[in-house]
Amino acid sequence: MTSEADRPAASHPNYVLIWGILVSALLVSLFLGYMDLPVVAMVLIFTIAIVKAWLVIAYYMHLKYEPFFVVAIVATGLACLYFLFIGLVPDIVFAPSKGGAP
C-alpha cells in the first residue's frame, strides 16, 4: 500500500504548470466577459470555470489519486445539489408571477 508521504509526491503533476493553465484560463474568461456575444461567451465562461474547478479538485486536492470511496463522498454532495436543482425548477422558474414574488 502506498504510504501517506509517498502518495502525492510519487504521482503528482507539475503544480506550477497547473497554476499556469489556471491563470491562462482566467485571462481567457476575463476576455470573454467583454465580448459582444453574450450566449456564446457565457457558455465558454462556465465551461472554463468547470475545467478550472476540475483541475483544482483533481490535482491540487488529489481527488484523482484518492480511492473510489472518497470520490463517492464528493459525488454524494453533488447528487444532493442535482436533486435540489430539479426540485426547485418548478417553484422558481415555471411558477406564475405574483406581485412582489421573486
Partner: protein, 195 residues
C-alpha cells in the same frame, strides 16, 4: 498470513477505506459545505434564469477586482499545495514559509473584497437594494467568512509546523483552502462576468 496493511491505530489509516481518518473527515466536511454553497448557487442560477434583467445589475460589480481576487486565490492554492509537497519531503521550514505566503494571499483577497464592498455601498448598492444584491452580499460574505476561517486554521497549523508538530495537518487545511478556491471559481463568473 500477515496482512501488509498497517492497523488503523498505528498508521492513522482507516482499514476499510485506506484513507487517513483526518483526510476522510475533511472530505465529509467538504461534501456538506458543497451543499451549503451549492444550495445558494443553485437558487441564484434559477432566479437568474427567471430574471434575465439581473444581468444589468451584475454589470455594476467590478470585473477587474474580481479577476484579481481570482488570481490571488489560485496563487494561494498553489502555495498551499507546495506546502503539502514540502511536508511530504520532510522540509517543514519551507512548508511553514509557503503557509505564510498563503496567509498573505488570504489577507490580500479580504482587502480587495473590502474595497469592492465600500465602492458598491458608496454607489448605493446595499444588501437591501434588490434580490440580486442580497445574493451578491450573502454569497460573497459567506465566502469571505470561510476565507477568514481558513486563515485562522492555516495560521494555527503553520505555528505547529514551525515547531515541528502535526505536519499532516498541512494537507487538511490545504484541502479546505482549495475548496474555498473552487467556490470562488464559480462565484466569479456568476456574480461578475455574467452581466
Amino acid at each position: 498470513m500477515e496482512s501488509s496493511r498497517a492497523p488503523a491505530s498505528a498508521s492513522g489509516f482507516r482499514e476499510a477505506t485506506e484513507v487517513p481518518t483526518g483526510r476522510l473527515g475533511l472530505w465529509w466536511f467538504l461534501a456538506s459545505e458543497t451543499v451549503i454553497f451549492g444550495g445558494l448557487i443553485t437558487s441564484y442560477v434559477l432566479l437568474r434564469w427567471r430574471h434575465p434583467e439581473w444581468s444589468s445589475e451584475a454589470s455594476h460589480t467590478l470585473n477587474a477586482a474580481g479577476g484579481f481576487n481570482t488570481l490571488v486565490l489560485l496563487s494561494s492554492s498553489l502555495t498551499v499545495v507546495l506546502a503539502h509537497e514540502a511536508v511530504a519531503h520532510g522540509d517543514l521550514p519551507r512548508a511553514a514559509r509557503h503557509l505564510g505566503v498563503t496567509l498573505l494571499g488570504g489577507l490580500v483577497f479580504l482587502c480587495v473584497k473590502a474595497f469592492e464592498y465600500s465602492h458598491e455601498i458608496a454607489e448605493g448598492f446595499t444588501p437591501l437594494t434588490s434580490l440580486f444584491w442580497s445574493y451578491y452580499y450573502g454569497m460573497t460574505g459567506l465566502h469571505a467568512l470561510h476565507v477568514i476561517g481558513g486563515m485562522i486554521a492555516i495560521a494555527a497549523v503553520a505555528l505547529g509546523v514551525r515547531r515541528g508538530r502535526d505536519a499532516q495537518r498541512v494537507e487538511y487545511v490545504g484541502l479546505y483552502w482549495h475548496f474555498v478556491d473552487v467556490v470562488w471559481i464559480f462565484l466569479f463568473p456568476l456574480l461578475y462576468l455574467a452581466s
